[in-house]
Symmetry: D2
Amino acid sequence: MEKVKIGLIGAGRIGKLHGENLAQSVPSADLYAVADPFMNDATKKWAKDLGVEYCCDDPDKILADQDVDAVFICSSTDTHAALIKAAAKAGKDIFCEKPIHHDLEEIHDALKAVEKAGVKLQIGFVRRFDHNHKAVHDTVSSGKIGAPCIVKVTSRDPDHQPMEYLKTSGGIFIDMTIHDFDMVRYLSCSEVTEVTAYGAVCDNPDYAEINDVDTAIVVMKFENGALGVIDNSRASHYGYDQRTEVQCQKGCVKVENDLENTSTVLCGEGVEAAKPTWFFLERYNDAFITEAREFVDAVLNHTETPVQGVDGLKPVEIALAAEKSMKEGRPVKLSEIC
Amino acid sequence: MEKVKIGLIGAGRIGKLHGENLAQSVPSADLYAVADPFMNDATKKWAKDLGVEYCCDDPDKILADQDVDAVFICSSTDTHAALIKAAAKAGKDIFCEKPIHHDLEEIHDALKAVEKAGVKLQIGFVRRFDHNHKAVHDTVSSGKIGAPCIVKVTSRDPDHQPMEYLKTSGGIFIDMTIHDFDMVRYLSCSEVTEVTAYGAVCDNPDYAEINDVDTAIVVMKFENGALGVIDNSRASHYGYDQRTEVQCQKGCVKVENDLENTSTVLCGEGVEAAKPTWFFLERYNDAFITEAREFVDAVLNHTETPVQGVDGLKPVEIALAAEKSMKEGRPVKLSEIC
Amino acid sequence: MEKVKIGLIGAGRIGKLHGENLAQSVPSADLYAVADPFMNDATKKWAKDLGVEYCCDDPDKILADQDVDAVFICSSTDTHAALIKAAAKAGKDIFCEKPIHHDLEEIHDALKAVEKAGVKLQIGFVRRFDHNHKAVHDTVSSGKIGAPCIVKVTSRDPDHQPMEYLKTSGGIFIDMTIHDFDMVRYLSCSEVTEVTAYGAVCDNPDYAEINDVDTAIVVMKFENGALGVIDNSRASHYGYDQRTEVQCQKGCVKVENDLENTSTVLCGEGVEAAKPTWFFLERYNDAFITEAREFVDAVLNHTETPVQGVDGLKPVEIALAAEKSMKEGRPVKLSEIC
Amino acid sequence: MEKVKIGLIGAGRIGKLHGENLAQSVPSADLYAVADPFMNDATKKWAKDLGVEYCCDDPDKILADQDVDAVFICSSTDTHAALIKAAAKAGKDIFCEKPIHHDLEEIHDALKAVEKAGVKLQIGFVRRFDHNHKAVHDTVSSGKIGAPCIVKVTSRDPDHQPMEYLKTSGGIFIDMTIHDFDMVRYLSCSEVTEVTAYGAVCDNPDYAEINDVDTAIVVMKFENGALGVIDNSRASHYGYDQRTEVQCQKGCVKVENDLENTSTVLCGEGVEAAKPTWFFLERYNDAFITEAREFVDAVLNHTETPVQGVDGLKPVEIALAAEKSMKEGRPVKLSEIC
């Protein structure tokens, strides 16, 4: 079987996840090289266990390697746009973790470079590959229950991230809700035209000190006339709450959380059911494999990637609009942002 | 057993429902008289079958009757405020269907009359007596999962009302969402301070001609810091969709719809489950009985009614704010309305 | 509206339940007289509150009354057969609580009297009128998922009955499983031909002293080739566990318990759902009303009653076979019993 | 990290499944050699893709290899016992697919060889590693809801196996129910003492020609006083139906099927939910990985394997008793078999 030779750029938590999936669960992928600015013995050992000998600390070396077909950009967010431009120039197909950048100008530059080079770009919006959300999307896009009217996303993390992380995260909308902004585009089969964002500090007063919120509701209008709403919490305390729903003209499609198991214990004291899976590693484990497979297949078969450059741009625009709406206490049209 | 002698004012659909419940399912109630401006033989026959001989077309006759302890006001909305005032003056305890009036001035006058007379007033927000929503409220108000952060209400009618009805209904917020505005107050244990309302005509273009919408999302801020959201559809097409949920600081409580039955049919073609119950008569049948019982018990035991005058006022204020928000395309504070 | 004049015989717990349903929830019924050998002031007061003045301690008086169209026999089990015979002779249509008798000869005599008199007889197997079990039956009998292969009934009472009651109950099969024997006939659309019954004392050692069991599993063969199984517990401790399921040739239909409400509370400690409804009064409340309505309608419209004499006979035969099987430790064919 | 060097014996469907899991998902395993009597280029290519160069057609070669620590016996059932004996003699730790053999004598011989050699033996009863069934077992064995009273297993394959396969399968009990016999031992925390088995040909008349059945119910007694029941179908037509439940003294624990996704589509025509996962590869995918990991860990850490030799023996005994019961139409005690 022909395989796609892949260079992994960035071997942190998410990079290691992609590396393992590529080596073990994507038959058409040949994980060939790993670059990380903090390359060390532990990472070399990790790579070797996956059958990768070629380790370095400079991504440029990988980009310059003629044997490399494609790269997975899993480095820190601020390096994504520059690496996309460099990889495009080097003629490599690109998988890049979200978000491309916090700055729209930088994103536009990166997308232009990709277009000019004619390489593939897939953005790591992993939820599109989840069995549940995909079932919602497929039902909506089939048209069998009519056009969408109400798009709902519930998205709550299990627990607070460290305050050190939150301080530089860019705020709830660009850091966390960005996945949900991708979801509403995916589920509505349309584009957001206006948002009103409400935020609140309900659980942990420390958020107020860094001008962020731990709770948010964003309501939206879409080009196709539908309305949408996202509700977010930084800390559900019971697990990763990831539910989506679309009310269409003729009916509704909705999905519940995946649970740790399907057990129920009934006794005199009450009825106990299993919890939702804890966080994204548990919930989206299979989806991470699927997104890598679909990228590698697109490269191999010269077809379109399932999540493209524009899909990396739009959620950032919506996130910036949501931030502006919350700050200014008014609805913000997307046309004010783009 | 001592019984409360009740006069029913208005014997339309909802009046007949209350009448039957009082006669058959509220042991402490004595349905004693029925007044309806369109009193006819069919209604007299209906009353007689319930054991009521005293029928008339003038509510004043009932209000003047010294034997009557309390009245159920189930006449058309525009008569509610005036009948409350008259009943209060006559010293009768009052159960009144929602809404009291569309005009805040009229509501205030009615509530003042009630206060002055020292009679009881209960407003017919029946959902507070539903086994599901009550379970949400009880969990939140117990405090065992902390203070509320996100309050969510999904409320969708099964199918469009006749256009004749809709034309004079006052619009979606005062006619339909008003029940949900009561719900968010009940579930949040707090008061709404600001709303942003989005409306759309998604299913039936006729709504546009009467300046109304068939789809709406209302997002809210509460005094206690929580956020809330209601999503509405005039026509789900699959039944009465009535779900509520509150994310609190330590966890979440939520309820699903009641279904026609609990059956699942699994075969090669797919898996078929039962539908939600069709509309409010099926879903809130028991709740109507409970609200009548609790009113009668409050009268008998000289205790407070479970839904009071202020609970009739606040949802109207929120509805007017929502209407203003949708019309003007901006958040509206409740302080602008009251 | 024409009404059926009904005499209630036996005003204990189940008699009062039927009396209230007839008076309040069955519009075509006229509850006209109540006979109870222990007639007292409390029962007279109860009857009067339902609008019944005619109370006596002798059922014969009611049977002799020309105005009485039909009787509800709710007296103690040992009187059922004799009362059926007397009522048939008097030309009254008959609703009789289960079981008709523990002795097959007595049942046959009663059924012959009914047949000879040409009156109607309906046996109180209330579960046939439950929304859930009916959905299973209707799917099976529609034939849309093929012929039945496996019929399953889970039936567990919430808690032990008093030992005084159990001593004279006739044992688990005739006292409790009899309802499930009716269910398997109803759900399989066929007749039982053989049973093997296993019993055990698992929860309360007192059962051993009265030669009874608190836990049982009965496996069955049906005329149509299907197999069946019932599992019973006298004390689930979490509520009334009443689930049915039929695997057919092309698929499966199954129902879950009704719950107190649909709530789920999710928090760090776990996930808590609502309990099943507690016992038969909660679970089969609506079914009791429906069975009374269908009896009264059958009388009024001269149609067949939904549960007939043979349906009172067969479950007793199966119960006797199950008892024999458990005692003798071998499969017992129904042909050994009848 | 120290790794366990593993030789895979038998590279058919289940052998390839284990091979891939060992190579890709069990970090402590080193899949080192593959032996298959029908070794060919395709299998060599498959092995090479997993990083295994050492392929041969003779298992003895692997057993003689000093570098091999343990073997996975995945060859045809009739070779299991002989290979266990040979592997034990060679001092290899052994993972063997179920069943060990259809003949009890052969099983005893194999187990003696294992005991004599002091090597480890784990039998491939994969369902013990399923997240759902394990939750049931863990609740029962914790004792928190008391001792078990009723043990229930529903186990239905999605569709008929080819008649060629069925002819030599040994019949439903030894071929299919054997997994369920392991389950009831696992869930009851006890041993079966008696069975009564009922079988029927309900769906496909071809089974009658090979003296087999497509539908079965087995009822059981356990040493600890509990009762149990298994219901089987060779062809559910809707997917892999794998539910377990234990009623204990203080309450009940039960699990439902895993579904393809959690979606529900509600519209005017009805409510459609997702199907159960199709068959064992989908349902027990993670369980296969877990059982391999636990075996490798036991070898590495010199601890006991989670499913041992006796666990390979007992289900065969129960299967033989069930077969005898069905054939002879009577309860069969396990003491008649052993």
